[in-house]
Point group: C2
Chain length 355, copies 2
DNA sequence: GGGTTGTGAGAAACCGGTGTCATGGTTCAC
DNA sequence: GTGAACCATGACACCGGTTTCTCACAACCC
């Protein structure tokens, strides 16, 4: 494989030798540079010359070689996506948004999932950045909260934009969701539906998103004059099982809550199972709200009311920050999530006493 | 942006000027070519020289420029992933398998989702292939069944491997799952559990996967001496709602089936809803098997028994076919799916008469 | 009409690697 | 002792673009 191969050319033979800028120049009877000017829409160019060259380009089906361009320009057209898959649907939606922004440009999206728990995570990312030298990277939560990673990007000189639910970085490097406010709206909705005893399944410590959602919850409850006692809060780690366990603790309280807000959909689905196993009817006896609007939310029974990050729009914004920094980088980008109303929330059961 | 920028160098300034092969050669007092030999582990190289050069490389933190390599070698190190997202979890698992195979190599994974229904799909793919010139592409179902796409890859001279549930191409370009046999095992399992009246929710026409699953079903039923009447088969299009509608038709039959095999999990989830709305208990009165083992399967109630493609292994195999054709391309790669037993299948209810 | 300015286009160098071929020094056979 | 074979290494062209610098020529000025 690595030894000099005198038949090396044979490999490329499969492909009809692509025309190069030299072919175009020769046939159009101009210099390479002029062809380059046409490709790059240089303004100082005679209209007749341009037409002539364009005709030859079309005839030959010439497409500039991206590797040669990348070398000469000292930059390539790859956008890296760094994520530690919290949730398949979210990653895919994010990819969709990014690709929408990249459509029509010459940029492509390179994937680089990582393992948050691996001690070599940063080394792996460094290797990736050095080996591919992407133009920039987009960093999804939860690893977007890692400041060492951002420092690494700066050190290597790689552009980056972080997605987050808190103010992690300066505006040029951040696309932000206001989870706090979104959770507030979810709580408002529960209160408007008559609920007073509302439980919270919080996310794991150390996650900014979890903290924002927790604080948003407490703020909103306080605003409504409702207390958040320790028997109303349980912590999970964003998994189905942890949600089930957390819900079991919440449901032991007496009087038990009439509604639960879970910090993500997986945990909400777990809570639903826990309730069902205790014979508690959803939503008649217990209302439930999740967060993220994953595929699960729509497909469990009853369909889950949940908070949806406008992830596609956020992804688009993040991609634009990277590829058009001049126009966008200085504007703060904050997005507000929607509450997706499905049928897991009901009017507070009449028989539940005030607390 | 495109006009000549005399300060062009300023852009790269952020990055500490990366050392190049010339720097290494100068400091190590050897020629570029010798450094190149060290990098590429050429065997004809004096051990002392190698050590000397390696020391300088380490000291400088030199990493070869991938764009320059790509240009000189006339090939890059990008693997494209072409898919028309049938299912988020599957795409993500596939990505995981590919990345596992690519780990430690210099290849990176570039994403290119497409819209199967768009008339410009092929043009979009052509642009992608021409603009990025990936080393090769991996094609996921269902678009892997598109022969024009494969022809396009051959025309452009881009390597490709198709994933499929039927014999779509020759062994060098195919990684195959034996859905027919897997469905057979699912039916065996139902029959072993005492079921005789088994319904099928088939996938949409025109999909090879749907046909394979259909035929696997009919074969297995026939093998067990069971008939497959028209009242036992309904067609869906792989969506939740179509599964619900199909199940409603099947459940109208009298006597109604005691088990249903759905050609994917989404439709199985839809069938579950339909049954529940008719007050039919799952699995006591109706057993259910899906296909794909998506996240939904584990999170609905009751958890769904389903067939799981060994997608990660298949992805790994596909990636190896692309990057190590010499070792792997000629071997056929067929994978058999597992039956994941959860609780949506029960022993046939005693009160259901033989048919 | 000669000098100045401005404009479109080309020649050559360059980006950072790899391939080809030549070269000088050993070792070996005869 | 001499030529052949064999190594390890280097010089140089090349991949296909972009950038820099230069130049020819037309327009303009006085």
């Amino acid at each position: 494989m690595t030894r000099p191969d005198s038949e090396g050319k044979g490999v490329a033979r499969g492909r009809e030798a692509q025309p190069t800028i030299n072919d175009v120049a020769r046939i159009a009877e101009v210099s390479k540079k002029t062809v380059s000017r046409v490709i790059n829409r240089s303004p100082l160019l005679n209209e007749a010359t341009r037409k002539k060259v364009e005709a030859v380009i079309a005839e030959l089906g010439y497409v500039p070689n991206p590797q040669a361009r990348a070398l000469a320009l000292r930059r390539n057209f790859l956008i890296g996506l760094l994520h530690d898959n919290p949730n398949a649907q979210m990653v895919l939606n994010f990819q969709e948004g990014v690709l929408e922004a990249l459509r029509g440009t010459e940029f492509a999206l390179v994937l680089h999932p990582v393992d948050r728990h691996s001690p070599q995570m940063l080394d792996g990312i460094r290797t990736f950045l050095e080996q591919q030298r992407p133009y920039g990277v987009l960093i999804l939560p939860p690893i977007s909260e890692n400041d060492e990673l951002a420092a690494l990007c700066r050190e290597i000189g790689c552009g980056y934009v972080r997605m987050g639910s808190a103010h992690l970085d300066n505006d040029a490097h951040l696309v932000e969701s206001n989870d706090r406010q979104a959770v507030g709206h979810a709580v408002d909705y529960l209160v408007d539906s008559g609920h007073r005893r509302i439980g919270l399944i919080a996310g794991p410590e150390g996650f900014r998103s979890a903290r924002e959602r927790y604080e948003g919850f407490v703020e909103a409850m306080t605003r409504h004059g409702l207390s958040v006692g320790p028997e109303r809060v349980a912590r999970g780690n964003y998994t189905f099982d942890s949600g089930r366990a957390a819900a079991e603790r919440l449901l032991e309280a007496s009087p038990r809550p009439t509604a639960i807000f879970a910090s993500n959909d997986e945990m909400a689905a777990g809570a639903l199972h826990a309730a069902r196993q205790r014979g508690i009817e959803i939503p008649a006896e217990l209302s439930l709200i999740g967060f993220d609007d994953t595929a699960i939310a729509a497909h469990i029974w009853p369909p889950l009311t949940t908070v949806r990050w406008p992830i596609v729009s956020m992804a688009r914004a993040a991609a634009f920050k990277l590829i058009r920094p001049a126009e966008t980088a200085q504007q703060p980008s904050q997005f507000l999530s929607d509450l997706v109303r499905r049928s897991s929330v009901a009017i507070r059961p009449a028989d539940s006493g005030e607390d």
